[in-house]
Amino acid sequence: MTKMDFLERYGQEDEPYVCASCGNCTLVCPVFRELKWESYGPRGKLHIVKSIIEGEGEFGEDFAHKIFLCNLCEHCTSVCTTGISLDRFWEVARAEVRQRGLMPKPAQFVLDSLKARGDIMWMGSADRLLWMEDIEAIVKDRVMKSAKVAYFLGCNVSLKSQLHDVARSMVKIMEYAEVDYTILGDKEICCGAPLGWAGNFEGINEMAEKNLELIHSLGVETVVFSCPSCIQTWSEYSRYLKEENDLELLTTSQYINRLVREGRLKFDEQPMVTVTYHDSCISARVLKVTEEPREIIEDIPGVYNVEMTPSRQSTRCCGAHGLLDVVDPVLSSRIAEMRLRDATVTPASRIITECPRCILAFDLAKFTTGYDMKVQDITQIVAESLSPNDVGGDEAK
C-alpha cells in the first residue's frame, strides 16, 4: 500500500475528504476542458488521491505525470465550495513526486537549470543584460544604484528576446515620470517560483532572499514586477518579507496606475484602438489586481477596452503557468488557443496583459491558429502612448 503521510506533513490530510465532489473546480479547469476526462481535472485527481490513501491506487509514474498536467492557475481554488486550497495541494503533491524520483524530465531540467544557472532556461547572469541593448546609456547608471523603487524583471522578461521590449517600455515609463529607480541587472536571479512549481519548497526562500538582500541594501521601498508570480512567491515564501513587511510589492499596472493618478504620465490621442484586457491568473485571482490595468487603458485617449468572457477573477489561464509549457507544450498551447478564441470573438484587435508567460503563450497560439492579433504587455501600450516628454515628469505635477 502506498504511504501518503506527506499529506499530514503539509497539513493536507483532510482535504481529499473535505471535497464535496460538487464539480465546480472541474468545469473551470483548463486542463479538464481540453482533455475532458475527469482523471485530469481537480475533482477526479482528488478521487485518485483518496483511492491511493485507501490502498486501491498507486502513486506511480502515471499519477505523477497527471499531477504535473496542471497550470497551478488557482481557478479551482477560487471556486472551491469547501475552501480547499487546491493549488497548495497540487504543489505539495509535486513535492512528493520529486521525493519519489518521479519528476517529469522537463520539470527536472528546470530544477537543474535553476541550480546551475540561477534561471529557468540554462542561460546565465550575463544574458540578463542583453535587453539593455540600445538603451544602455539610459540604464547603465541605474544598475544596483540606491533608489526608492526597484524594477524586478524576472527571468522571462530578462532572458527572452521577444519580451525585451517589455523591460524597455517600463524603463521608458519610469524615465518619463522621473522615477528614482534601480534595477539589479546581472545580479538579479530567479525569484524562486519555478522551484515551488517543481516541488522544491526548500530552495525558494534562499533564492528570494538573495534578491531581497540586494534590494534591501539599496534602500528600496517599492519593488515593481513585470511578472505577478514573483510577487506571489515572495509573499508566500520569503521569511524576510514575513518578518519585515514594510517593502511594497507592486505589479507594473499597479505602479503605472499610481503614476497616472499622480499626473506623472500624459498620453497622446491614439488612432482608435480596441483592445481586450486579459487578466493573468495570478494577478487576478491571487493579487486581486483587476481594476488598475483597466483604469490605465481608460485613461489613454483613443484606446477602448472590451471585456472578454470570462474575465477578472474568473479569467481563463493562458496555459503556460505552473510549468505546463515545459512539461506538455502541446497541451499548454491548446489551452492558449482556447483563451485566444475568447479574445478573437470580441471586436478587439489587440490583447493587453501583464504577464510575460501569457504573452509568450498567446504568441505561440497565434502562430498555431493563424489568428492575427497583436499581443502586448500593459507597459508596452502605455510607453507607446506617452505624449512627448516635455509635458510629463515633474513638470506635469
Partner: protein, 573 residues
C-alpha cells in the same frame, strides 16, 4: 463484464471512450461518499465510460448495449447524491456532458432548446446576455447539467414562484432503451436544422402504439415517462425549457430566534409577495458556518433568505411588505449587503462539508407548517450527531428539508453504522406527512409513495414494455437484484452454513424429529467420505449465497438498515 473498447470506440469515437481503472472509478461516484459496505450490494465501478457527442452515435451505442446485454447508465456531471448515476451492475457510463449545445431560442415563445449536457450556469449566462433567465434552476447550477436535473426533477432556485423543474419542461427528446428516438411534449427546433425528423416519426408512432396498449395518452402528453425518472426509461438528448424575462432581482434576508417565527413569515411572504426564491438555514447550520469567513454575523440564528424577481415598482412594494411582516414576527431584516451575500451563497450549500469532513445526507419533502416539529424531532433523535439543516421552499406549501449529518468516512465502522441515520430521518419526516425528496437508487423502496400509486403503476408497465431486459439504468427507481460483493457472498454462505449446521445438528433432536436423526445416522449416508452434517451445512452455505444473489436491493436495505440501527444503538450508547 468484458467490453469491447475498440467496437465502442468505433461507435462513439475512439477519443470518447475510456476503460482505464481510474476513469471508471471516478465516473462511478456521485457526491455522496458511500460506506464500503455499499459495494457489497452494488458494483463498485463501470466497465467503460463513454462521452458521445451526438444523437446518432448515442443511438448506436444503445443498440450495441442492447445486442450485448450490457447495462447503460446516463450521467450528467454526477452532482446528485441519490445514486442515480452510479453503477449497480457495471456496464457503460454514458457521460452526456459533451452534448452541450444551445439549439434554439425564441424570445416571443419564451422557450429555449438545449442538449442535455449543458450546465445550468452556461445556460443562464447565455440567457442573461439576452435579458432572460430561467424560472427554475438547481443550486448546483455551476456544475449540474440540464439533463441531470430534468431527469431527477426537484426544487431549485425559482421554485418558490414557479414550482418543480418538471413544470418548466415544454418538451424532451430521448433515446428509449430499445434505441428508438422519441419526442415527448413540445420540442422546439428550427425545422431546417432538424435532421432527425424521420427517426422521430418512426419512434413516436411506435411509442404511441405502446402507450395506447398500456392505456396511456399520446407522446405529447406523457413527458413524465422520461422527466423525473432518473434515466431509467431513456436517455434525454434534447430539452425545451420555458424562459422568463430577467426583471429586477432584489435579494432579501431576515433572521429569527425561532423556526416557528421563520415559518410564519415565510408563509406570509409566499402568499403576499410571491418571491422568486426562499431558503431557510436552521440555527445548527448558521452556527456551524460561523468559522467560515463572512458567516459569523447570524451565528446560531434561523435565517430566511430569498429574492424577488419582478418590476421595480412591484419590488419596492414587496420589500416593504417583507420588512413589516418580519418585524411583526419578531424577526430582523438584514441589510442589503447581507442579503446579497446570502444570494451569492445560494450556490454553495455544501460549504458545510468543511466541518465533516464527510456528510451523510438526508433530504425530505415536508409540509411547510410541519418544519418546526420535524426540526425539533430531528435534533432530538440526532442529539449525539453533528447536524446542520437547511431547505428550499416551494410555492405549493411544501419545502425540501435537507439534513446534513457531519461525519468522518475514515472511521470506517462508525461511518458505516452511522449511515442508517439518513434513513432514520426519512422515517421521522414521514411521520409528519413528509416524503423522500428524491428516489434515485437509495430510495427505490419509497418510489410508489413518491410518484403516487397510479403513476408508479404506469411507469412500471412502461418500464417492462420499453426495457424488458432492464438494461437502462438498472435497479434505480424500480429496484432489482443486488450485485453481491465478496463480503456479502461470504456472509450469505456463513449464514446458510450455520443455519444448516444447526438445522442438521441440534434442532432435530431438540424437536424430537427422530426420523431425521435416524436418516443422518443411516448406513447409506455414512458411506459418504465427508461427514453428513458438514455436507448439509455446505449445501446450506450455497443456498445462502443463492439467496444473497437473488435478493433485491430493496430487500437488502430492508434487512440492512434495521440491523445497522440496532448496532448503532448498542455502539453509540
Amino acid at each position: 463484464m468484458k467490453v469491447d473498447e475498440i467496437r465502442i470506440g468505433d461507435i462513439v469515437g475512439a477519443d470518447n471512450v475510456s476503460t482505464t481503472h481510474e476513469t471508471c472509478m471516478i465516473y462511478s461516484k456521485d457526491v455522496t461518499s458511500l460506506p464500503d459496505m455499499a459495494y457489497q450490494i452494488i458494483s463498485p465501478k463501470f466497465d467503460v465510460v463513454t462521452q458521445p457527442v451526438d444523437v446518432p452515435s448515442l443511438q448506436n451505442l444503445v443498440w450495441y448495449a442492447l445486442d450485448n446485454n450490457i447495462p447503460l447508465v446516463p450521467r450528467g456531471n454526477g452532482t446528485s447524491g441519490w445514486g442515480g448515476s452510479i453503477p449497480t451492475r457495471g456496464g457503460i457510463c454514458v457521460d452526456l456532458s459533451s452534448m452541450s449545445r444551445i439549439l434554439y431560442f425564441n424570445e416571443f415563445e419564451q422557450a429555449i432548446t438545449v442538449e442535455p449536457g449543458i450546465t445550468w450556469r452556461d445556460l443562464l449566462a447565455f440567457l442573461g446576455r439576452l435579458g432572460f433567465t430561467l424560472p427554475v434552476y438547481p443550486s448546483s447550477a455551476t456544475a449540474a447539467t440540464v439533463g441531470g436535473f430534468v431527469a431527477s426533477g426537484g426544487l431549485g432556485i425559482g421554485s418558490t414562484r414557479h414550482g418543480n423543474i418538471l413544470k418548466q419542461v415544454l418538451g424532451i427528446e430521448a433515446i428509449l432503451p430499445n434505441g428508438k428516438i422519441v419526442r415527448l411534449g413540445k420540442v422546439m427546433l428550427d425545422p431546417k436544422s432538424d435532421t432527425l425528423q424521420e427517426k422521430i416519426e418512426e419512434g413516436n408512432s411506435w411509442l404511441s402504439q405502446e402507450l395506447t396498449a398500456a392505456g396511456l395518452g399520446t407522446p405529447e402528453q406523457e413527458s413524465k415517462l422520461i422527466t423525473g425518472t432518473y434515466g431509467t426509461l431513456g436517455i434525454i438528448t434534447k430539452v425545451t425549457l420555458k424562459t422568463i424575462p430577467n426583471l429586477q432581482l432584489v435579494p432579501f434576508a431576515c433572521s429569527f430566534y425561532s423556526m416557528t417565527d421563520l415559518v410564519n413569515v415565510a408563509t406570509k411572504i409566499i402568499s403576499e409577495a410571491q418571491p422568486y426564491y426562499l431558503r431557510f438555514l436552521a440555527d445548527n447550520y448558521t452556527s456551524k458556518l460561523r468559522v467560515l469567513k463572512g458567516h459569523e454575523l447570524e451565528e446560531g440564528k434561523y435565517v430566511l433568505t430569498g429574492a424577488l424577481l419582478d418590476t421595480i415598482y412591484q419590488n419596492e412594494d414587496n420589500i416593504e411588505r417583507i420588512q413589516v411582516i418580519t418585524k411583526e414576527e419578531n424577526g430582523t431584516t438584514l441589510d442589503d449587503k447581507r442579503a446579497w451575500f446570502y444570494w451569492d451563497e445560494r450556490l454553495y450549500p455544501l460549504r458545510i462539508k468543511r466541518h465533516g469532513p464527510s456528510l451523510v445526507p438526508a433530504e425530505m419533502l415536508a409540509p411547510l407548517e410541519m418544519l418546526p416539529d420535524i426540526l425539533d424531532e430531528t435534533k432530538a433523535e440526532l442529539q449525539k450527531s453533528k447536524v446542520a439543516i437547511e431547505g428550499t421552499l416551494s410555492n405549493d406549501g411544501s419545502s425540501s428539508f435537507m439534513v446534513w449529518i457531519l461525519d468522518d468516512e475514515r472511521k470506517k465502522i462508525s461511518f458505516t453504522i452511522g449511515w442508517q441515520r439518513s434513513f432514520q430521518i426519512a422515517a421521522l419526516a414521514e411521520k409528519f406527512g413528509g416524503l423522500p425528496y428524491a428516489v434515485g437508487l437509495w430510495n427505490g423502496r419509497h418510489a410508489k409513495k413518491f410518484y403516487g400509486d397510479h403513476t408508479y403503476k404506469e411507469l412500471k408497465i412502461m418500464k417492462k414494455r420499453l426495457d424488458p431486459n432492464n438494461l437502462m439504468n438498472p435497479v434505480k427507481v424500480f429496484g432489482g437484484r443486488v450485485t453481491a460483493g465478496r463480503i456479502s457472498t461470504t456472509f450469505g454462505f456463513l449464514v446458510g452454513f450455520i443455519i444448516a449446521l444447526m438445522g442438521g445438528g441440534f434442532v432435530p433432536s431438540l424437536l424430537g424429529w427422530e426420523w431425521l436423526t435416524q436418516l443422518m445416522n443411516s448406513s447409506l449416508i455414512q458411506a459418504f467420505p465427508v461427514p453428513l452434517l458438514l455436507l448439509v451445512s455446505f449445501v446450506g452455505g450455497f443456498a445462502g449465497i443463492a439467496a444473497i444473489r437473488l435478493m433485491t436491493l430493496n430487500q437488502a436495505l430492508s434487512i440492512g438498515i434495521p440491523l445497522l440501527r440496532v448496532l448503532s444503538k448498542i455502539l453509540r450508547k
